[in-house]
Amino acid sequence: MESIEVKICSGTTCFVMGSTYLNELYEIIPQLYGDKVTVKPSLCLGQCSSSDKHSKAPYVKIDDEYVSQATIEKVLDVLKKKVEQV
């Protein structure tokens, strides 16, 4: 089975808008899902560029789905649904 990929954006916009407060995910996700899910930082995910879009940062990408204004809870929620679908 392919593992699910979580990318936490550490581009400038997401970093400044608070993505470092998502860092706990690097510990929580492996604890919850082992190697079923990989989680890593990413360069700008390209979501922040158009005008007004900065206000929805930080972004996290879970496979091909984007989570905007990401919080630890939000990311875990989306991830849980994904894992259950598989």
Binding site: S10, T12, G18, N23, H54
Partner: protein, 481 residues
């Protein structure tokens, strides 16, 4: 979560829009339209009672970001007028904090409150214990008459059901010296005679009502006008952005700064001078010495702890020495300090070698507004590399480590730390001064913020992340010795 609440998010969002407006074809008009862009017609109203209130608060925040006080505003004054005034002023020095009344109103003044847990019991311990006759039993429940209550809290202790609680006001709770409190209208007022500008209220307010008055427009204006604007970034700033400090420098140059210096460079001078001073003091049998680089602590000493003054190092701050170096190299430059906290604004206002302050948020907003991606920048080197110890000044323990490593082996140095200025630590410092003795050590590092400058009120990163980024830099840096 510290420095990462929704209110801080909105503050950043507004700053970014302000930067975008500044570089647009019509700064004034586009600034005035920010509240309407953020809360367009028919938009949902996420926080307050109505869209007008939300826009009003956004307007007030913009006024603070333009560098003005929001207190005593006349409602008829338009954003356009403030934008124009900001564009045309030369200097921007004044108390660096301002309270947004409309945002502050969301929170009730400190008071004692009877919760639903009240059983209307027979004992009526609350009623009996109240010395002011403020408690009566009405409808089978305890009732507090606000006009008689003196907030003493005796009833809280007396109630066998823990049904009475004190509602706290986060800013009042956070302020270590009681300089902020709600007035009779329920608006927080800062007593600037007492305030040490530690920024704890800024970070504590859940409504984001306490704002720094920004100098961002002043800095951008000088950049736009082609002035030689030089950035000097605090050691803690190395932990506030993605990438290396060499990429950070390149990003700042791209944003229009003419040159960029590490304040860690000045920290190396501070370490050397402070080590010499410590040695001298020990020779003269002085009991202890405290560091002097934290602006919040320096304000505390000046306003509330004069008795400890004789034990405070007279060595200048890293920023002081850095600004000297910069002004010598570029006498006609405009200098900007990139800061992790509000307290440094006071130090800067008193130093002629430094013109403006930008905090980490504000620099971040410039990067975003100008679409500068730090991680895609090529490295840009510094003329002189700072030491490992200098680069660690922004982390608790970093200053005493730097000073200690320069002291001769035979000198009996015992470093210790005051990690964060709060009521307890102020008491401790007072006692050291009175007793002329500090049982914990003889070289005391005092940091106003917990974790050091990386815990400053204007930081971006989670302190753990900041520490990790700084440690990476340290592993590549040379020793001071």
């Amino acid at each position: 979560m510290k420095n990462n609440s929704q209110s801080i998010f909105i503050k950043k969002d507004i700053l970014i829009r302000l930067v975008e407006a500044f570089f647009s074809d019509d700064f004034i008009k586009n600034t005035a339209s920010i509240p309407f862009k953020m809360r367009p017609k028919d938009a949902e109203v996420p926080y307050r009672c109505c869209i007008y209130k939300e826009r009003e608060i956004i307007k007030d925040r913009i006024i603070a970001d333009l560098g003005f006080a929001v207190e005593d505003l006349n409602e008829s004054e338009k954003l356009e007028d403030f934008a124009l005034l900001a564009l045309n002023r030369e200097k921007n020095i004044d108390n660096p904090l301002t309270v947004i009344e409309a945002a502050c109103k969301g929170c009730v003044p400190s008071r004692v409150y009877v919760t639903d847990l009240c059983q209307g019991c027979v004992a009526r311990a609350c009623e009996k214990t109240c010395k002011f006759g403020a408690i009566t039993i009405e409808g089978g429940r305890s009732y507090i008459d606000g006009s008689k209550c003196k907030n003493c809290g005796m009833c809280i202790q007396a109630c066998p059901y823990n049904a009475i609680v004190r509602l706290i006001v986060p800013c009042e709770q956070a302020c270590p010296i009681g300089a902020i409190s709600k007035d009779e209208n329920g608006t927080a007022v800062i007593d600037f005679e007492k305030c040490i500008f530690c920024g704890k209220c800024v970070a504590a307010c859940p409504f984001g009502a306490v704002n720094e008055k920004s100098q961002i427009i002043d800095v951008l204006k000088n950049i736009k006008n082609g002035k030689k604007v030089i950035a000097m970034f605090a050691p803690a700033i190395a932990g506030q952005f993605p990438g290396s400090i060499y990429q950070l420098k390149a990003a700042m140059i791209k944003a229009g700064f003419y040159d960029v210096f590490e304040v860690a460079l000045g920290a190396d001078i501070t370490s050397k001078n402070e080590a010499l001073e410590f040695e001298e003091r020990m020779k003269n049998n002085k009991p202890f010495m405290t560091t002097s680089c934290c602006a919040g602590y320096n304000s505390l000493v000046k306003k509330h702890l004069p008795e400890i003054k004789e034990f405070v190092s007279e060595t200048k701050t890293p920023l002081f020495y850095t600004a000297e170096i910069v002004k010598e190299k570029y006498p006609d430059s405009i200098t900007v300090f990139i800061s992790p906290c509000v307290a440094k604004r006071i130090e800067v206002a008193e130093n002629d070698n430094i013109d403006f302050v930008l905090n980490a948020d504000e620099l971040g907003a410039i990067f975003i507004g100008r679409k500068i991606e730090i991680l895609s920048m090529e490295d840009s080197s510094f003329e002189k590399e700072s030491s490992k110890q200098g680069r660690n000044y922004g982390v608790t323990g970093g200053v005493v480590q730097a000073v200690s490593c320069l002291l001769p082996d035979n000198l009996n140095v015992k470093p210790c730390m005051i990690d964060g200025i709060n009521k307890d630590n102020i008491k401790k410092l007072k006692k050291y001064a009175q007793d002329k003795n500090c049982p914990e050590g003889n070289l005391i590092e005092v940091m106003c913020c917990e974790d050091g400058c990386i815990g400053g009120n204007s930081t971006i990163s989670n302190p753990q992340t900041a520490k990790r980024l700084i440690n990476k830099l340290l592993s590549e840096s040379k020793d001071l010795k």
